[in-house]
Symmetry: C2
DNA sequence: AAACCGATTGACTGGTCAGTCAACCAGGGA
DNA sequence: TCCCTGGTTGACTGACCAGTCAATCGGTTT
């Protein structure tokens, strides 16, 4: 009864999948690649997951729910709209810093894979956009953000900018040192809130 | 000798491919789907193109070279850095308005498909980022843009914001009326240049 | 020790397509 | 008239791989 396998094979498979998906991409990953990387038999993947898709779904859900929670918390506890946006950007950037492989998989294979998994998870992804839009709208209502720019447009732009930076790091288009991550957080908020032109 | 087939089958195939790729996505499009949509025999696709991939490559190259030209022209002829950025955003938004299916294919299947075609065309895609960064850097050098924000970061953010808006239209996350397109152009530049906070 | 049961194994199958190729057709030139 | 050539056709093949399943293993219960 007392089940306590010293190693959680299911977790082992998920972690292996992160590495393999990050390395080869979802489409060119064979289920056997995952099994090999995890050091388990082919069939065991199907013991724990209904399909190859379900492995990726699981990875996405695990992480995205954290993001949604983080955005809501930022909204609840942030001192100002600006601070809230900074917390959001910070969380996403830190997620990448903490586990770049997982974030690569989620962005490349789900968030930006509009014809496959992005489509499936559109409503959850959208929830993030909406939460950010709410932060902006509240800022506008409070008078600290200008009202002549649609909050949904801002939300999309802000999120798109973050994701593009992550993409830039993932594909080594822009430098990815620790200092760059820190700069990015404030840069994003400074640009969006203060603008490029000097005051 | 005087070859003048009343209908250019090659073009016909490319146009059909745009529609089918836009509808089903590249991966779930069979070569037979393209042939059927174009009203030609299966084998003819291989007479004009080396592979299914080459069809998409051709579509991307056709369009992306226009974009690169447009950015360079904006840089050359724009009155101010701000006007240049507006021209860039305007061109991309208008490209979508003019041919949403083609832009959908290019963004979804190439630009954001980092593990397949995005990887292949990375250097060309990057050229766009670089050209935008140059506009920003020139603006900084001229003193009309603040210098404490890295030009490459701004470039990525700006481009990412545009692409996210297009994605939003493509997947009907945000409204896509004519007025929205016009708003978007100025919104993007206003946000990036003036910022969200009132002056 | 015998029955039990979930975890684990990996060979095998069925279906799917990208790409090939031999044949066919049309029209221009000899 | 009869090649010749290049566009056009679509049946076929070879490779690939997700998912299945019957067999095995190892620990627990009775």
């Amino acid at each position: 009864m007392a089940k306590a396998p010293p190693i959680d094979k299911r977790r082992q498979i998920l972690d292996a999948a992160i590495r393999v998906f990050a390395r080869q991409g979802f489409h060119s990953t064979r289920v056997s690649d995952i099994a090999d990387e995890a050091g388990v038999a082919y069939g065991l993947v199907y013991h724990y997951f209904k399909s190859k898709d379900e492995v990726l779904n699981e990875l996405f859900n695990e992480r995205w729910s954290l993001l949604l929670t983080a955005i809501e918390e930022a909204d609840r506890e942030g001192a100002s709209p600006r601070a809230k946006l900074e917390a959001v950007a910070g969380f996403i950037v830190d997620s990448y810093r903490h586990d770049p492989e997982l974030m690569k998989v989620i962005i490349v294979e789900v968030t930006r894979a509009a014809n496959s998994f992005g489509r499936t998870h559109l409503s959850e992804i959208r929830r993030a956009y909406d939460s950010i839009a709410k932060i902006v709208a509240d800022g506008q209502a409070a008078g600290v953000f200008r009202r002549d720019i649609d909050a949904n447009f801002v939300s999309m732009s802000f999120y798109g900018a973050i994701e593009q930076l992550l993409s830039g790091w993932i594909f080594e288009v822009i430098p990815a040192a620790d200092s760059d991550f820190d700069q990015a957080k404030t840069l994003l908020v400074t640009t969006i809130c203060d603008g490029l032109e000097p005051r």
